[in-house]
């Protein structure tokens, strides 16, 4: 019997999904999870919008809660102009949140653990908010990199710092989400692998001892649930903050 080894990274491997058609169209298993997330989101809306009751039921409450949460986030962070970006922020928030959550289920792919995915989302937010900035303010948007109320001789030092910090936004935005999701799933896999290793090497004693990594994984499940919600919230609120900067320039 070959001793089991911990393959903590195999879970992130990309294959093609949806059978022959998916292979032909390069539709990956992570796209399957994205599709599932989108279907879950649309399904929540379809169910929540069935009754349209004055006193909402469970699904309607869920939809209204999500709606008002993101809407308030937009208005509080960006201002009244934020309502223009509300559908966009909502789509990103819901996509990441549901993607994080279904990634927690066994056999589901956590697509937010792929840097290509999170970087693409972050670059979109970065390019979009920069575009909004130039669209709103024209070339005066360059003033954003000149902090006001600073003595002139400091500007040659501060302007490059501002530009670098601005350009690093998509990196920090994408790496934060990617690293959180990857780390959580790797830890899960590692502790689960410990259980197999303990059982294989110590027999019955090892089977009992593997209660410890199991307990750790249970605790980790709660933590990952928190991280899944928190990282989606962080991504959405940072998107709002960048849009605020683009609209208000301060």
């Amino acid at each position: 019997m070959a001793a089991p080894s911990i393959d903590a990274l195999g879970q992130f491997g990309l294959t093609t999904g949806l059978g022959q058609l998916g292979r032909a169209l390069h539709f990956t298993n992570s796209n399957e999870a994205m599709l599932a997330a989108a279907v879950v989101i649309v399904g929540i809306f379809a169910l929540g919008l069935q009754a349209r009751a004055l006193v909402p039921g469970r699904m309607q409450s869920l939809v209204e809660l999500l709606y008002e949460f993101v809407r308030n986030m937009c208005v509080d962070t960006i201002g009244e102009e934020g309502l223009r970006f509300f559908p966009l922020v909502f789509t990103i928030f819901a996509f990441i949140l549901i993607g994080n959550l279904i990634g927690l289920f066994p056999y589901f792919f956590a697509f937010t653990s792929h840097i290509a995915v999170t970087l693409a989302l972050a670059l979109f937010v970065f390019v979009f908010s920069t575009g909004v900035g130039f669209y709103t303010h024209g070339f005066r948007f360059f003033k954003f990199f000149v902090p006001s109320g600073v003595p002139g001789w400091l500007l040659p030092l501060l302007v490059p710092i501002e530009i670098i910090s601005y350009l690093s936004r998509p990196v920090s935005l994408s790496v934060r989400l990617f690293a959180n999701m990857t780390a959580g799933h790797v830890m899960w896999e590692v502790f689960a692998g410990f259980m197999l290793l303990l059982t294989a090497s110590l027999g019955v004693v090892g089977a009992f001892a593997s209660v410890v990594p199991l307990g750790l994984n249970v605790a980790l499940a709660a933590l990952e649930l928190l991280v899944a919600g928190l990282q989606a919230y962080v991504f959405a609120i940072l998107t709002c903050l960048y849009l605020h900067d683009a609209v208000h320039m301060h």
Binding site: L14, H26, A38, L49, Y67, S113, A116, V175, A179
Partner: protein, 188 residues
């Protein structure tokens, strides 16, 4: 770019030690970028569905609820105002009725007092008239009685003098004496 992102990952992510074997870093695999293309398609469809259908519908539900609540509140305020007005009208009516009743009572009391005073005055006048009539009667009777005294006294004096003297007194001597005696007794 790839080398840069790998370096950043090594610096930031604890799992970056696995960078060589990480499927996330395997940009040689065409699927790594293909998934981004499909994500764009899925996200565009999701965005269109949410922005055209889902979110406006939820907004409508919330708006209609807010409208119903506002209408109910307005109706409740209207009802309260009507109730307040009704109470005010009731209080005004009660005050008016009380004033009218008090005026009626005062008028009745005054009328009764006036009537009683008038009756008392009439009665007093009637009694006065009777008293005067009685006094007049008494005076007449007294005068008649007094008038009757002189002939009786004159006859008595005549008779007495006739018996004493045997002769009737002279009429002219008797009359002044009789008058003086009656005057002394204040009956003339």
């Amino acid at each position: 770019m790839r080398r840069l992102s790998t370096a950043i990952l090594l610096a930031l992510a604890p799992s970056a030690a696995f960078a060589d074997t990480m499927p996330q870093m395997d940009f040689q695999n065409p699927l790594t970028l293909d998934q981004v293309g499909w994500m764009a398609v899925i996200l565009v469809v999701l965005y269109l569905l949410l922005s055209r259908w889902g979110l406006p519908q939820v907004g409508k539900v919330l708006e209609s609820r807010a409208a119903v609540i506002a209408a109910d509140l307005a109706a409740a305020r209207q009802a309260k105002k009507e109730a307040d007005d009704a109470v005010a009208a009731l209080n005004a009516t009660i005050a008016q009725a009380r004033a009218v009743a008090q005026a009626e009572v005062a008028k009745a009391v005054n009328d009764a007092k006036a009537k009683a005073a008038a009756e008392a005055a009439t009665l007093a006048a009637a009694l006065e008239a009777k008293l005067e009539a009685a006094e007049a009667q008494i005076a007449t009777a007294r005068a008649a009685a007094l008038a009757a005294i002189r002939p009786v006294a004159a006859e008595a004096a005549n008779t007495i003098l006739l018996k004493l003297t045997g002769a009737p007194p002279a009429e002219d001597q008797l009359a002044p004496r009789l008058d003086a005696a009656l005057a002394a007794r204040k009956v003339a």
